[in-house]
Symmetry: C2
Subunit: 249 residues, 2 copies
């Protein structure tokens, strides 16, 4: 649909909006969003992250960012991460981060269009949108109200994940947005004692997604305790994985 | 709120409705729902599962169940698992399980009250409701339209999970439903070669949940490749974990 014009529209010049999606929860969408944003920023691009997970926002914690946000002349000013990413999330608007946002669909949809149109993003080469699980209000409002150029699909090896991610693939195709690529996360665990790979979540079902999406497998990320530790410490920008190069194509 | 009366209400006699929730996706809510239901059924209770994850239903795959469902005189007849669990899920109503359900909030809320009131559950000691991630329509409709006696909260070790699960705890408390206990999933991985425990997702933050919820830690489940394999094979009822005893208290 036609992107809604918010108060900050004249101030914002965003070249590419890319959504990170999966349909399934806990596969690593927020992690992949953080890794992708950090890698693009290191290459010199101006990058922002819109956390569209209104009731379960993880992006602020991954980047060690906390509210409140300052109002600007035409909209809210996004926070900036240590690496220079511009970030906006529902958690920045809460007085207490433990506070639940108990909103039904229509308010969720409205919140997303406000995080797009009423935030002073400024000049960005890329705005990454971290979508929550499901194919409901958040995903629909994002696809209908933002000029999404493409979607990165995130999955994990399990057959169960593949079944649900395929639903997200079919939704994305139904709204006519291209799928740029697929990232398989938690593909294996390397035992630090033996160096052996353990396929904890079973053999990969990523081909079921790449075929359904007609999109390439961009990367297969390992389960890495250092990644979890850096995420909990708010340092996702410091994660070093050789596979991240594959994310930037 | 007052439970809505569906067509099947006169036929259904359900003693206890228990919701399995987390707020965060991918922590193992569906797995815990399946384990809890199977353990209660083995003890001789009559158990049902209502899959309230309308856009991302995992329960059917964990139990190896597929639609279609048959209509009965006063409502839809639930399917039965190999272990005798009565199960109803959105996936049974789709012509193709890859099909996304692209519904906004109001339709999701309505679907949940129909899965409650228009299904011939019959006589059950326990009906477990597997909630999707988030604190939006599905959770609200469940808490407001079903007589939920209590909630089991599921988390994983990460600080990030604990922050989001605390939101679900505060939501549950806000609607006045007791929290029966907390299950921490993916607590550690035992290397098959060395027998050593690896805390892949870091040290446990479960105490942050048990304190916020004033509820006991019911179990800490390991990451077990056999569990993932049994889930993908539709045999969650065959999962053997010594920790499951703790789930039934
Ligand atoms: N490859 C990985 N290795 C280790 N931990 C991971 C990995 N991927 C994700 N995690 C952990 O799991 C958490 C959940 O991932 P997240 O990105 O929040 O998933 P989603 O956004 O899909 O719900 C992360 O915060 C991180 O702690
Ligand atoms: N303890 C575990 N060990 C191995 N695999 C697990 C474990 N818990 C969950 N899984 C895998 O992760 C998948 C996701 O869990 P699921 O129950 O669907 O999470 P949720 O319902 O919270 O999204 C399961 O299907 C299973 O394959």
């Amino acid at each position: 649909g036609e992107p809604k014009e918010g108060a900050a529209a004249p101030y914002n010049h965003i070249q590419n909006v890319v959504a990170v999606m999966s349909g399934k929860g806990g596969v690593g969408k927020s992690l992949v969003t953080g890794l992708l944003a950090a890698a693009l920023s290191k290459k010199g691009y101006r990058v922002g992250i819109l956390d569209a997970d209104i009731t379960g926002p993880s992006i602020p914690m991954l980047l060690g960012l906390h509210g409140p946000v300052e109002p600007g002349p035409v909209g809210l000013r996004p926070l900036q991460s240590r690496g220079g990413l511009k970030v906006m999330s529902m958690n920045f608007l809460l007085t207490n981060e433990d506070q639940p946002v108990i909103w039904r669909g229509p308010l969720i949809g409205k919140a997303i269009t406000q995080l797009w149109g009423d935030v002073m993003w400024g000049d960005l080469d890329y705005l990454l949108v971290d979508l929550p699980p499901g194919t409901s209000d958040a995903a629909l409002s994002t696809m209908q109200s933002l000029p999404v150029k493409g979607v990165v699909m995130v999955t994990t090896p399990q057959g169960l994940s593949a079944m649900i991610v395929r639903k997200a693939v079919h939704m994305t195709q139904a709204v006519g947005v291209p799928i740029l690529g697929v990232v398989e996360n938690m593909a294996y665990f390397i035992c630090p004692d033996t160096g052996k790979q353990h396929f904890i979540f079973g053999p990969s079902h990523a081909t079921e997604i790449t075929l359904a999406a007609s999109a390439p497998l961009m990367a297969q990320l390992p389960i890495d305790p250092n990644v979890a530790a850096l995420c909990d410490a708010g340092h996702v920008e410091d994660v070093k994985l050789t596979e991240i190069e594959g994310l930037i194509e």
